[in-house]
Symmetry: C2
DNA sequence: GACCACTGAGACCGATCTGTCTCTTCCCTT
DNA sequence: AAGGGAAGAGACAGATCGGTCTCAGTGGTC
């Protein structure tokens, strides 16, 4: 009953206390505080206090704050691929439908209040140092994202899978980033239409007429 | 000789010292340090030291660090619109060419090493508080971006200017964000092709065949 | 030459940062 | 019942944070 279907990406609530181990409580609290408020803006004392855990318990489980951050991101990355696999599994053998389903699911997430974009991109924004443990986790997640997009684009028969993958990656990253300044009523609402246009353009034969399937009931 | 043509967005170099006022030196240094390393990661003492300025001179010009950050972003926003206007001015009366020129210029910037995406999005990432002065500047910049995209999309004759504007905003934000984790060899290279596809899809009549103009010499 | 506003230099403040150490309590196992 | 390991509580350290204050120098203006 931890990661429910309604909370596909975010993971369990931060207040699951007492019954779990200090380490789990710390990770839950770190997930909540670091994501909502930013990593630099949240101190160890606050994490420890909100988790209801002694400070020494933190340093018994993690060698440093940086490693706690990396662990928080690593767990979040696992949840992210869980979500991805769940969405993809709904359309087995139909890569085009899988790509569209991913964008639709992300769009739904982006319109929710309280969502603050991609934890990996946000962490990379806060930590420019190339060898920071948090950045390593974030970059690994992004490499995997690009790899999966390429695989799906290739399976869907895109003329240039690498390019379609990069275009979709741009749209995903744009959705993540746009909520930071525009909020949940911003351009993220255009994600599905944009992705559909990209996919159409890449899968249609060059001289084939454009079939504008999502045009009539479009947003705005 | 300050903001040269070769350095369209970034502004003057940080080491323009001595001759300028303490306030200008502080803004130059803040622009360099805050953008490269992040805002929370750079303390007042470091800014003051790198600028070669007394700490009191900072607090004589700015009431707080937050206001220095806001001033840095405000100046940067002005440089951003200077760049925009310059690019747009190259194709007077041709909004479609203007949109494409903007994406091409941004792509060129995105491929440069040392570029670390959008200072406004990055600042918004670091400061989630809704009433932070830096956030206010960042959000104003983004509102203006969206407004300008809508105006250009409308002038270009898009079927749905608001939607095309949002799609292009997504691509811009995606380009900004993607360099944070993928670096300058990441999916940002697909920006121009993606934007061209979006524009094509929106400006072509629904039953018109797709004219894939940038396909033959595409990247990858 | 006197005056004055501005600047640099640096001490200083309280708060907060990450991380360490000690001591006590509690629960589980045998 | 006894023992032991884990965890809570909190003091403590050293560094750094943003911000204030004082004082000496300096360059320009009447």
């Amino acid at each position: 009953m931890r990661a429910t279907q309604a909370d596909e990406i975010l993971g369990p609530a931060p207040d699951s206390s007492a019954v779990t181990s200090p380490r789990d409580r710390l990770l839950n609290t770190a997930n909540d505080l670091f994501y909502r408020r930013g990593i630099h803006a949240v101190g160890i004392d606050e994490v420890v206090g909100a988790a209801g855990v002694a400070k020494m318990s933190l340093y018994r489980s993690f060698p440093s704050k940086d490693e706690l951050v990396a662990a928080y991101l690593a767990r979040r990355s696992g949840l992210y691929w869980d979500w991805w696999d769940r969405v993809v599994a709904r359309h087995p053998g139909k890569p085009r439908q899988q790509l569209l389903a991913l964008t639709k699911s992300l769009r739904k997430r982006a319109l929710r209040t309280g969502w603050r974009g991609c934890p990996f991109t946000n962490a990379a924004c806060e930590f420019p140092e190339p060898d920071h443990p948090a950045r390593r986790v974030a970059e690994a997640n992004k490499r995997e994202l690009r790899r999966r997009f390429r695989a799906l684009a290739k399976a869907a028969g895109a003329r240039s899978p690498a390019r379609l993958a990069d275009q979709l990656t741009l749209l995903f990253e744009g959705t993540y980033a746009s909520v930071l300044t525009f909020g949940h009523r911003g351009p993220a609402r255009a994600l599905v239409d944009a992705a559909a246009a990209m996919i159409d353009t890449q899968l249609r034969k060059p001289d084939e007429p454009a079939v504008r399937r999502s045009q009539p009931r479009g947003v705005r």
